[in-house]
Each structure stands twice: as C-alpha cells, then as structure tokens.
C-alpha cells in the first residue's frame, strides 16, 4: 500500500493506506480519531466534516491520495480543552441530544465563523444546510453559533 503523510491536529502523521481510502476512514481506522463520524458515505449528511487546509470538507468523499501532505483538523483538534467559542456555546445552549452529528456540526460552524465572523440567521441556515441532525437540535445549533459569534466579537 502506498505511504502518505498528513498533519493532523498539528501533528505530523505517516502511514500506509489504499489510495482510494476516504480520509474519513484513515482518520477513524488508521489514526484512531473516532470523533469524525460516518453517516452516509455519500456527501449527504456532513457528519464527517473536517477542515482540510482550513476548508470545511466532507472527509467521506476525499480519497487519501488527494489529501497527501495536507493539513487536517478534526473535532479532537478544534481546541485542547473544549475552549473553542463554539464548543463553549454548544455547552451553554445544551445543543446535543444523541450527539452523533455534532462533531460535524461544530466543524462546519467553525469554518463558517472563520469566513463570516458575524453570520446572519439566513447565512447560518445556508451554510449549515447540508449538516443533518435527526434529533432536531437545529434551533439550538443556530443559537449556539450566534452566541459564539457574539462572544468572539466581545473578546475580539
């Protein structure tokens, strides 16, 4: 199997994998990072969202051969201690229910705030449209994103 390198959550990682292995399964099965979730395998639910060179990406749709040498941030690397404004807001708003989609939700939201520090409700809805939540935590997700944006502004 071919060899690849990634910088995952700031750490260099080297490993072998079949070239068509989706980044999702490299993270979960090769690198032991199970925070990134499998939901559909088809780019339809966004449970697998990670940041690839800072861009929110469907890790289930990116073969490792296309990610070689690149920089990946997963939910485990968003902050060392749940101190990212979104993680704090998620706790404040009591967002998760089953919780399975939430790593993907938070990673999508983090990419949104990086681009748009003060998104409107419709910008949030537009950006987060592909992130499915079967439990219906959407209203709290929107509130938590708004809360995190406000906190950033106040501390910015």
């Amino acid at each position: 199997m071919p060899a690849y390198t990634l910088t995952v959550n700031g750490e260099p990682r080297a490993f072998e994998a079949a070239a068509d292995t989706p980044l999702l399964w490299v993270l979960r099965d090769v690198l032991g990072l199970t925070g990134t979730k499998y939901g559909c395998g088809a780019g339809l639910c966004r449970a697998c969202t990670i940041h690839l060179d800072g861009e929110a990406s469907f890790s289930c749709q990116i073969p490792i051969s296309a990610a070689d040498g690149r920089r990946v941030t997963t939910i485990e690397g968003l902050s060392p201690d749940r101190s990212h404004p979104l993680q704090k807001a998620w706790i404040e708003e009591d967002v998760p229910q089953c919780g399975y989609c939430q790593p993907g939700q938070i990673m999508s939201a983090a990419a949104l705030l990086a681009k748009t520090p003060a998104p409107s409700a419709s910008e949030i809805d537009g950006w987060m449209a592909t992130n499915l939540c079967r439990c219906g935590t959407y209203n709290r997700i929107r509130s938590a994103i708004e809360r995190a944006a406000a906190e950033r502004k106040n501390h910015g």
Partner: protein, 728 residues
C-alpha cells in the same frame, strides 16, 4: 467472599420483590476497615476526609470517587432522549449531592442486578420515577448509617447534605467518599430498603433546569458511540443482504474479494454474506469485488403501488375494535351533503438513525462480550446466548452511547451478525451497516390505508366516525400474538380505539395485511400514523359542518379536560384566530400517546414551488410531572422534527420486491432551514406521569396538513405531503 456473595444474592432477591423489578443489590467489591477515619478524637473535617477517602461503590447505582464525584450507573440506554441526565436527577435528588458533582454512565447490563433492560415506549422516567429516587435514598441511608455507626451516635442525629454526612451536635462531618466502603458493607436494614422519600416541597433537583451530563463529551469527539469502539485485534465486517425481500444466497465466489488487501474472510451468515476485513474500507473494497448469485424471493412484483392495493383490498375486512351506537344506520340517515368518505394512506418509514446499525462482539471459548449501541441490552444478551450456546451469565453487554434509536435499536439483527462473525473468526468483530444496508435492512414503520366515513348533524356537529384501518401487524410479525387480545394488535389501533371525541356513533376496525416487508416499532408506533388520520379527518368533518377546528375539539373533548387545557393553551400561545401574514394558516392537532397529551399549532405557508413551509410550532405537552424541563423541550422538538421529516418527504420506495431507497437523497431529513421555530410549554399539574420520547411526534403531521387544508381547501390524505401538485 463466596459466602458474602451468596448472602447479597439473597438480599437482592428479596429486594427485587419490594422494588418492583429494580434490584438494589449491594456490591461488596472490597472490604477494608474504615475505622481509621473515625479513630481520632478530633472531628474529621470534610477536607481531611477527602484527602484519605478511597471512595468506592455504595450500591449497584452509586459509586463515589476519591474526589467526591458521584457516578450513577443507569440501566437505560441514552439515545439522545436524555435518560443519563433525567434518571441521574432522580437518584441525585435523594442522594443529597450537588449536581455539579454528579456524573452518569450506562451500567453493565445485569438482569439480576437491575432487572430487564429495555429502553422504549417512553417509559424510562415515568416507570422508574419512584424506583430511581429510592435507589438514591437507599445509598443515602447506607452512607448515613456508616457515619453514625462509626461515630457511635444515633443515626437520627445525622443528616446527609451536599455529599457529606453531618453530625450537627458535634459538628463532625464526613464526605461520602470516606464512607462509601463502609456503607457498602452494611446490611440492608429496613430504612435502607424502604427509605423515606423527600416531599415534593424539598426537591432541589427534580423539575429544575440542569445541564445535560452527556454534553461535554459530545462537543469534543470523545463520546463513544458503538461505531467508535476499538477492541485490540478487532476486525470490521459488512454484511451483504439479499437485495430482494424474501431472497436468499444461491452461491458466491469469494476469491476476488479475498484478494483485496486486508480482507480476511468471506462468510455466509443467516442475514447474508459478510466480508470481514482489517478495516471498514478494506471490507468495502472486498465487497465491491464480491460476486453473489441470489435466489430470488417470491416478491419480485411487489412495489409501493401493489402494497397500496393490498391494503385497500383488506381494509373492509377488519376485526371490530370499537363499536358505539349504530354507524351504518346513522350514515344511512344522513343526507348526502352531511357525510363524507375519504381514503388516507401512509408509507413505510425507516428509522434512519444518524449512526448506522453496528455492534462489536468478542466471542471466546466460554464467554462473549458485546459493545453495542442497543436499546435492549437484555435482548442483545439473549440473542448472543442463543447463537453461542452460552448462558446469559456468560454474556457481558457494554452499552455504548446510541447515535439515535427511535425504536430501531431495540432489534438485535446487528448484534446477531456480530456474534455470528466473531464466533466464526475467533476474533473480535465489529459489524457496521453502511447507510444503504441500514436503510434497506428491512425494519420499518408499517404502511397502511384507512377508509374513513363520517357525518355531521343539521347543526354541523359530528355524529358518525367510521374508521377502517388496514396495516401490517408489528406484533404478529414479532410472534407476540399472545398479547393480541381478540386478535387485535393494539399498536395498530392506538389513538383510534381510544378516540376521545364525544361522537355518538363510532366504529373502528383493523385488518392485518401480511406483507414481506418487516415492520418494527418506530417513534410513537401506531400513533405516528393514527394521530395523523384522526386529527386530519376531524378537520374534514369540521369543514363539512362549518365548525372552527379548535372550538369543535373543545366541545367534543368536554369529558377530557386535560386535552382541552392543552389545546386552549396552544391556541392562546400561538395567537390562533388572530391575523397571520398573507398566505399563512394555522393548523391544529391534539393527540394522547404514551400517557401524555400533546397539542400543537403549526403556522404554515406554501412556497412558490408548492412545498409547504412550517414557520412556527407551538407545542403544549401535559406529561403530569416533569423531571428535566429542558429534556422535555428537547424531546418535543425532536419528536416534531422526526414527525415533520416523515410528513414532508418520508417514504421508503419498493420496486420489484426490493427496497430501493438507500440514502438521505431518497429519504430526506428536515434541514436547519426547514426547521420551524418551536415553542414548548409544559403542563405538569400532578396528573399521572406520561412519557416524553414519543408523544411529540404524532400531532405535527396533522397540524401541518390541517394548515395546508385551510390554505388550499384540499385535505391531505396521503403521506408524504411532497408538494401541492402531489396533494392534488
């Protein structure tokens, strides 16, 4: 130790009788003198006690850490509904411990210790409201006894408060952590067995706004769902099932699959052909190379249209479930303009939990360990015992977090697959259903049809309600026929047989339809479709009689004051009857299920493309008693979301005997931009406690459809709603 075990065995059995299925067995895991803590003449201060306290397990439910953190072990599955919080609140209330010190976790399933573990029917809190408070109180009593005996003072002179036992007269106090071991050794005296529970006025946790305990791990990726379990030496498997309902494996060529790097085996098991590999992706790659010849089943012509016809063909041949007055005579006597007939139809639905079905099993020579996201660890252990030939005592079930349940995870198909494969491979195996496998794995909310006939009198009030239901029986399929009184599957008629409206002539019948599509309990079960049919047809009768849907309901629900109270509150909070933006309408529904009454008012408009848009839902739930208000609100929102997805687009497609819906493109879920604003109001006035997980679901589809009926003048009689084009 053996003697000790035998003794606790007896104690526990005695306890099982007094505690109604919840064992409070003491766990005597470690015995050491705790005398040192009591030896000194000087009072042992809490701070000192903490420093030397070993902590330990006080009872099967309560463990105290050296740092004073109390961990509560709970035999109910957390699938998002919040039981790891609400049940912990019950225990913590009586244990007298500050909420910030409380943690909770799934217990290791043990029927002898905890009773049978199944999570469903919106039962967890309402059925355990007393027993889990008692579990906290028992631990508290043991801790108090441990302190008072150590101090040599009457136990009545000691009290438990904020994680400590205090002897007020002397000012002595000891942290629970310092008392846990000693408490665990105490016999269960009467006080501990039948502890006095706090009066409502003294509650400090129950009914209060506390944070969910499972949140922190769910925001940093550390929460462990079934799919996240990693066992040393674990293999990963996918199971390819026969694509056709009732089909079977004829033959397969494993060689090309086995040639894929990482594929370890191709194995036929009862559910299909499994590819076992070193990773999920290796299993996927092997599966793509696997050539299987299938034996077709006898259902090659089955599709949604055929199912509709079969239901309609059966609908007039049902068993009578209710017969008040004389429906036939009343219908015959009603003028043509005062009666109507309608056919209501609904499709199969998948549970579509976001975490697909999976299970990890490790079968050894004389034991089997499972790591399963299951609603029923007891069922999982039974299934594993059957396959391995072991007794259930040899099966250890670790219940992980569940990425959604909705009833699906009370089944054991995914457990069986894992156990078969681990047994065969002599290695730990994690079975993962791909999304398509999950959606096609053959367990659905029943499809069905209803023929409705109704009439109103000269004043426009309903006089006839004739409802003929045809739908496949879940209970017959599960072979629970012993529970089918008079041949009726009560889940098929729930919400209809007990139709609350005061109508003089009511007839309800149900016809079973035997179909090869397997059904299963799906959030709110029969009420998920029956609430839609009854509440929509009620609005049709209102329209026929020229009555306002809220006023008509209030009048015909006069003998159901809780319904009326919920409905009035919902109407008031929603501003029902007041002007709305142009093109918007309110739709109303009220439905009782699982012991709770839920009224919803939905504000709906129609988009240019004919898609309904739900702007706002006011939801009033009367659940009698509330433990965790935020949990109740979350469950109402969640029930509404699941019900709304089903109403708008939910439909499993069957073509040529195959389930063709496979992923979220064909089974769309409500997205953030489609999510209505939901305002939940809780009525908890001391009526019998109702469930919360399911009752939020039934009213949303009829509330939305009734609003569409108001907007278009055309009733929605077939789900999913789709677009107005489809409605017409």
């Amino acid at each position: 130790m053996a003697e000790m075990k035998a003794e606790s065995e007896i104690t526990r059995r005695a306890l099982l009788q007094v505690s109604g299925g919840i064992g409070l067995g003491l766990v005597v895991s470690f015995i050491a003198p705790a005398g040192a803590l009591f030896g000194g003449a000087a009072p042992a201060g809490a701070a000192n006690a903490v420093a030397v306290a070993p902590g330990g397990e006080v009872t099967a439910y309560v463990r105290v850490g050296p740092d004073g953190i109390v961990t509560i072990s709970l035999p109910k599955s957390e699938m998002g509904q919040g039981v790891l919080t609400s049940l912990a609140m019950l225990v913590a209330e009586e244990l007298e411990v500050d909420w910030s010190k409380v943690r909770s976790e799934h217990a290791i399933a043990n029927d002898a210790r905890y009773g049978k573990w199944g999570t469903g029917g919106s039962r967890s809190v309402r059925e355990n409201f007393d027993s889990f408070r008692r579990a906290g109180a028992t631990a508290r009593e043991l801790l108090v006894s441990a302190a008072s005996e150590g101090w040599g003072v009457p136990r009545e002179s000691c009290l438990a408060k904020d994680g400590e036992v205090i002897h007020e007269a002397s000012g002595r106090r000891l942290a629970y952590a310092a008392l846990a071991e000693r408490a665990a050794q105490l016999p269960l005296n009467k006080k501990a067995k039948e502890p006095k529970l706090k009066p409502r006025s003294a509650w400090r946790v129950i009914g209060k706004e506390v944070r969910r305990l499972d949140t922190p791990a769910k925001v940093d990726g550390s929460a462990i769902f079934g799919i996240d379990v990693r066992v040393p030496g674990m293999l990963v498997a996918q199971v390819v099932r026969p694509p056709e309902l009732g089909g079977a494996v004829a033959s397969f060529d494993a060689k090309p699959a086995l040639a894929v790097e990482g594929v370890r085996a191709v194995v036929e098991i009862p559910n299909g052909v499994a590819v076992v590999a070193t990773s999920f992706w290796a299993a996927t790659s092997g599966r793509r190379k696997l050539a299987i010849e299938w034996k077709p089943g006898p259902n090659g012509t089955l599709d949604n249209e055929a199912i509709r016809k079969l239901c309609l063909a059966a609908v007039e041949k049902g068993i009578t479930a209710r017969n008040d007055g004389d429906v036939a005579k009343a219908l015959a006597g009603a003028g043509a303009k005062r009666k109507l007939e309608a056919v209501y139809e609904f499709p199969y639905l998948a549970h579509a939990t976001l975490e697909p079905m999976n299970c990890t099993a490790k079968v050894d020579a004389d034991s089997c360990e499972l790591w399963a996201p299951t609603q029923s660890p007891t069922g999982a252990a039974d299934a594993a015992a059957k396959i391995t030939g072991f007794s259930v005592d040899q099966i250890r079930v670790n219940t992980t977090l569940l990425g959604g349940g909705f009833g699906r995870r009370s089944a054991t198909d995914f457990v069986e697959d894992a156990v078969h494969l681990s047994k065969h491979m002599k290695a730990p195996v994690q079975v993962i259903y791909t999304r398509e496998d999950d959606m096609r794995a053959g367990l659905y909310r029943p499809a069905g049809a209803n023929v409705m006939r109704g009439a109103v009198d000269a004043e426009g009030w309903p006089t006839v309600w004739d409802q003929r239901i045809a739908s496949p029986s879940i209970m017959r399929e599960k072979s629970w026929t012993a529970m089918m009184k008079d041949g009726i599957d009560f889940t098929a008629v729930e919400g209809v047989r007990n139709l609350p409206y005061a109508i003089p002539n009511v007839f309800v019948s149900w016809a079973d339809v035997v179909l090869p599509v397997s059904t299963h309990w799906w959030r709110s079960v029969g009420s998920s479709q029956n609430g839609w049919v009854t509440e929509c047809f009620f609005d049709e009768l209102c329209a026929l009689g020229g009555k306002d849907p809220v006023e008509a309901r209030k009048r015909l629900l006069a003998k159901h004051p809780r319904h009326v109270r919920a409905l009035e509150r919902a109407a008031r909070e929603a501003g029902y009857g007041k002007p709305l933006p142009s093109g918007h309408a309110h739709g109303v529904a009220v439905h009782e299920s699982f012991g709770s009454i839920v009224a919803q008012v939905a504000e709906v408009s129609l988009e240019a493309d004919g898609q309904p848009r739900v702007h706002r839902v006011v939801c009033v739930v009367d659940c009698g008693e509330v433990v965790h208000p935020a949990g109740v609100r979350h469950q109402m929102e969640s029930g509404i979301t699941v019900g709304l997805s089903a109403a708008l687009t939910g439909e499993i497609a069957i073509e040529k005997g195959r389930i063709t819906t496979g992923n979220f493109d064909g089974f769309p879920l409500v997205r953030i931009g489609q999510m209505p604003r939901v305002e939940t109001h809780i009525i908890a006035e001391g009526d019998p406690m109702g469930g919360i997980g399911e009752p939020g679901t039934p009213p949303i589809a009829p509330a939305v459809c009734n609003a569409i009926f108001k907007l278009t003048g055309k009733p929605v009689r077939r789900l999913p709603i789709g677009t107005v084009a489809r409605m017409a």
